[in-house]
């Protein structure tokens, strides 16, 4: 436990003593902000049009659903940005230790491979949580100026968290395979992009196969969360995905020991 915490602490400090954390959080927030603005102005126009129509027909103004028309597309956008940013968060975790040789310190200290992998996974996860929390500014604005339901927002964020942790666990895996951060990031990106959209292109080949493969699509399982629907099946899916990534990392670290790094 102590080793695990020491590694988490060191990784977090290292994120914030290099520009990477600030750049990732900053750009992520900027992009999310731009899309938040676009979606909200779109939503306002929709509301105004609906009001005008209601006046014209002399009806009570309709209730526009903030959750449906604003929060859901915002969460959808954030889930896309996460796809681009998380490989940058995980790329250095093991790759840099291999490049600089600090892996020799870790692997000759009384720290188990599991503690090491979980420590790095947790650190990446914490940075991601900070990214998510920073987007809560937008949600707070919505809660001040509108009346969204809180439950679906919370479910949506839970979905984002699970989605992101799945990316991170495979990001950890790909960073164990190389000592090059760029390769680590690109491999992670290619891999999660593949699992993100696996349903789309397979349905081009054959609708039946597409349906089966859709069960493995990372984004398909996110849909319900974005709608605010909590379903344990999706939670189980993401948890298995996370477990798989961590398990492969473990196998990779063990086998690189036998190969002689």
């Amino acid at each position: 436990m102590r080793n695990y915490l020491a590694i988490v602490e060191r990784e977090i400090k290292s994120y914030f003593s290099s520009p990477i954390a600030y750049i990732v959080i900053g750009l992520f927030l900027l992009l999310s902000g731009i899309f938040f603005y676009l979606i909200i102005s779109n939503f306002m126009q929709m509301c105004m049009r609906a009001d005008m129509q209601a006046q014209y027909y002399q009806m009570a103004p309709p209730k526009m659903n903030v959750n449906l028309y604003a929060i859901r597309p915002i969460l959808g956008n954030i889930s896309t940005f996460v796809l681009f940013f998380l490989p940058l968060v995980t790329m250095r975790l093991f790759a840099d230790e291999k490049r600089t040789g600090t892996i020799e310190l870790l692997s000759t200290s009384p720290v188990t491979n599991l503690q090491c992998i979980l420590g790095k996974f947790t650190a990446g996860g914490l940075l991601f949580i900070i990214m998510l929390l920073s987007t809560s500014v937008f949600m707070i604005l919505l809660f001040i100026y509108g009346k969204p339901e809180f439950g679906p927002v919370a479910v949506g964020y839970l979905g984002l968290l699970l989605l992101g942790l799945s990316y991170i666990s495979f990001g950890v895996f790909f960073s164990t395979l190389t000592d090059n951060q760029i390769i680590s990031a690109l491999a992670t990106f290619a891999f999660i992009l593949f699992f993100w959209a696996i349903g789309w292109f397979s349905s081009i080949l054959s609708p039946e196969i597409g349906k089966i493969l859709n069960n493995f699509s990372l984004i398909d399982h996110f849909d319900d969360f974005a709608k605010g629907v909590f379903d344990t099946r999706h939670v189980v899916f993401y948890c298995s995905f996370i477990f798989m990534g961590l398990f492969l990392s473990f196998v990779s670290i063990e086998s690189s020991r036998w190969r002689g790094r």
């Binding site: 102590r2 080793n3 020491a6 590694i7 602490e9 060191r10 400090k13 290292s14 003593s17 290099s18 600089t100 040789g101 600090t102 892996i103 020799e104 310190l105 870790l106 692997s107 000759t108 200290s109 009384p110 720290v111 188990t112 020991r257 036998w258 002689g260 790094r261």
Partner: protein
């Protein structure tokens, strides 16, 4: 303290380490000497549990490096070839981190770090970011990292590389001062380093142990030869003939002749290690020549090293 038995390590088909065995007693400093690619780093990586051996067994402090690797790891301090530093960290934070993962008690971490920084003379750079330090200071931080948890065994892979001459002397002194309470293996391809710091030397070449002894014995025994420089005045030809007839003398060469100089210099070589100086002196005096100087030349460790490692080469071809 360290017991290596018939350890081999293959990378693919290539044997980086081929059936080596040696022991290190408690408190001893062992020099691990060999040319590039001899297998020094590979052996050290096996001892530190970084990579497993292909065959053979090794124990450190009574624990098997493979079966009980966590026990071994608690008892070793390791300075790899490239010091394992996190460039973005401050020196003190880095050593704190190392102390933590090496299992130093939370309460004793501060003192352990202070001690390690004191011993390696880096207290004044404690708050500096590691990547801004000079190479020599980085090497010292690497050394501090290896001793911060006060391990029984220190394994140092080329600890003086990249240091200036003054620092080299300081680090050697430091290593010597650590012996006794720590058992130390240090690798190097610098020979004087071994004769200055180590009590015993293992010379390896192409993955095999080619010699193992104290630095003095290596130079004395392994060559099995001695060389005398004799400065004497008299007829050169006759002197050479007479000296080469002495029992035990193999060759006599005239190095410089006495033109404009009062004496000639002769080089006498013998394969035996018997003391020849009294006999030579007596012969010269009996002949009525004047003896100016007689000196026994030490074979340097350099010669032994070259001899051993090139002999190996010759036998391969």
């Amino acid at each position: 303290m360290i017991d290596v038995k018939q350890v081999s390590r293959y990378f693919g088909r290539v044997a980086a380490v081929n059936d080596i065995s040696f022991q290190v007693a408690k408190g001893e400093i062992l020099g691990f000497l060999g040319p590039n690619a001899a297998g020094k780093t590979t052996t050290m990586r096996i001892l530190t549990t970084f990579i497993p051996a292909t065959s053979g067994t090794a124990t450190v402090a009574g624990f098997d490096v493979h079966e009980q690797s966590m026990q071994v790891r608690k008892r070793i301090g390791y300075l790899p070839e490239n010091p394992p530093l996190y460039p973005e960290m401050r020196v003190r934070d880095y050593l704190d981190f190392v102390a933590k993962i090496k299992g130093v008690d939370a309460k004793r971490i501060k003192k352990a770090v202070d001690d390690a920084m004191g011993k390696t003379a880096i207290t004044n750079v404690g708050n500096r970011v590691i990547k801004h330090l000079s190479k020599g200071y980085k090497q010292r931080v690497g050394l501090a990292q290896a001793i911060v948890h006060n391990p029984d065994v220190l394994i140092l892979d080329e600890p003086t590389v990249g240091l200036d001459p003054k620092q080299i002397i300081e680090v050697r002194e430091l290593i010597k001062s650590l012996a006794g309470e720590h058992t130390i293996i240090l690798s190097t391809h610098i020979l004087p380093e071994v004769s200055m710091t180590c009590e015993r030397v293992v010379i390896i070449d192409k993955g095999k142990v080619v010699a193992e002894d104290t630095p003095e014995n290596l130079t004395k025994n392994l060559m099995g030869a001695q060389q005398l420089t004799v400065s004497v005045s008299g007829p050169d030809k006759e002197m050479a003939d007479t000296l080469s007839k002495i029992q035990g003398v193999d060759t006599v060469q005239i190095k410089s002749q006495g033109k404009g100089q009062a004496f000639s210099t002769l080089v006498v070589e013998s394969k035996s290690r018997d003391e020849l100086r009294p006999v030579i002196a007596k012969t010269i005096v009996e002949k009525g020549w004047s003896l100016y100087e007689m000196k026994l030349e030490d074979m340097s460790l350099e010669d032994v090293f070259l001899h051993l490692t090139t002999k190996e080469e010759g036998s391969v071809q």
